[in-house]
């Protein structure tokens, strides 16, 4: 198939499935908290709605940068779709994409000029403590399989079994990463309600819809990478079931935990990373 058509197809699929999964996450959270919750389609409808709303660009915003940074978020997650489902390329590119996502959170907050944005910008740098586990996961995968290319990792798993069973602590660290990227999670300090909406506070209307669009793609891609790297060799139905199960599990955790304060959030992630890294090295050696 034409490469461009393949890319467009995968971008649209990841947007739609990601939005429905995020809506499902809200639904499961609500049910656990004993309320009906919004319809599953709500996240998708809100994304479309925001494109029709009136947007005002605040006076304190650093002007072309304030809009360009939202386009940057979409750029990196479209690149993730290209590296992932389309070409099954290198995992190091995902690390770069994740790092740039952190930079986007930082700059979206600081370019808006509002104090809530500035606090979120600082917290985004602070929560780069979650980057360490990601890098460690990549190194552990490389030490185990000898490659960082996704297609080779899938081939390795076809021969030697799922990586979830052979390097479970790396999977746990990656799961903590997914957890920190999910809405209302205990590690979501950049978007906590104590700072209104964090770096998204001053991005209204169209820009908010644009950020939601990119976040849907991000959610789908994080789950896709987890399933490909740690389980591998799934058909599309398997991916869908896996994504629904992970989303429901994440929603379960998010419904029952508060948002930790920034210090506790970072220390929890660092502690889990330490346990994960030391444990994985021990498991690899023996």
């Amino acid at each position: 198939m034409n490469l461009m058509a393949n890319i467009l197809l995968n971008v649209i699929i990841s947007f739609l499935v990601g939005s429905v999964l995020l809506g499902l996450q809200r639904k499961v959270m609500a049910r656990i908290q004993m309320r009906p919750g919004p319809p599953i389609i709500q996240h998708l409808l809100h994304t479309f709605k925001f494109f029709l709303k009136e947007s005002a660009f605040p006076k304190t915003a650093a002007m072309p940068f304030y809009i360009a940074i939202t386009a940057m978020l979409c750029v990196i997650w479209v690149a993730a779709v290209i590296v992932g489902p389309v070409t099954e390329g290198s995992l190091l590119l995902f690390f770069a994409i994740y790092a740039i996502h952190k930079i986007v959170e930082h700059n979206a907050g600081s370019s808006s000029g509002s104090p809530y944005g500035k606090l979120s910008c600082v917290r985004a740098v602070f929560s780069a403590a979650a980057e360490v586990p990601l890098f460690a996961v990549l190194i552990i995968i490389y030490l185990k399989t000898g490659t960082m290319i996704l297609s080779n990792i899938v081939t390795y798993q076809n021969q030697h079994g799922a990586l979830l069973l052979s390097i479970p602590l790396a999977a746990l660290m990656f799961f903590v990463l997914i957890l920190s990227k999910s809405p209302y999670s205990p590690f979501a300090i950049t978007k906590g309600k104590d700072i209104v909406s964090g770096y998204e506070t001053e991005h209204f209307g169209l820009l908010r819809g644009y950020l939601m669009f990119s976040e849907s793609i991000a959610w789908y891609m994080l789950l896709w990478i987890f399933l490909t790297v740690f389980i591998g060799g799934l058909n599309p139905v398997g991916y869908l079931i896996g994504m629904v199960v992970i989303t429901a599990f994440v929603a379960f955790i998010n419904a029952l935990t508060p948002i930790l304060n920034p210090n506790h959030s970072v220390m929890t992630q660092v502690t889990l990373a330490f346990i994960g890294i030391v444990g994985s090295v021990i498991l690899l050696l023996y």
Binding site: N2, L3, M4, A5, I7, L8, V11, F51, L52, K53, E54, S55, A56, F57, P58, K59, T60, I67, T70, A71, C74, V75, V78, A79, I82, G113, S114, P115, G205, L206, G209, Y210, F213
Partner: protein, 71 residues
């Protein structure tokens, strides 16, 4: 048409044209990657800038003022 609408139309037309170019004429892979990474987000952004509602001109100054300026 004010400046924002003109720029948005310009970017939208260029983005859609380049995506169609990549779809119809199959250029080498690296060109397709470059076009998709740059122009898919720009097309969505410019489409949004065209579809968003605009308020009245005289209210715009009030909406852009922020309450925390001046500390």
């Amino acid at each position: 048409m004010d400046k924002l609408k003109a720029v948005s139309w310009f970017i939208f037309v260029i983005s859609v044209a380049s995506i169609l170019y990549a779809l119809i004429i199959n250029p080498p892979n690296w060109i397709v990657y470059a076009i998709s990474i740059v122009f898919i987000p720009l097309s969505i952004l410019s489409f949004g800038l065209l579809s968003m509602a605009r308020g009245k001109k005289e209210e715009e100054e009030d909406k852009r003022k922020e309450p925390f300026i001046g500390y």
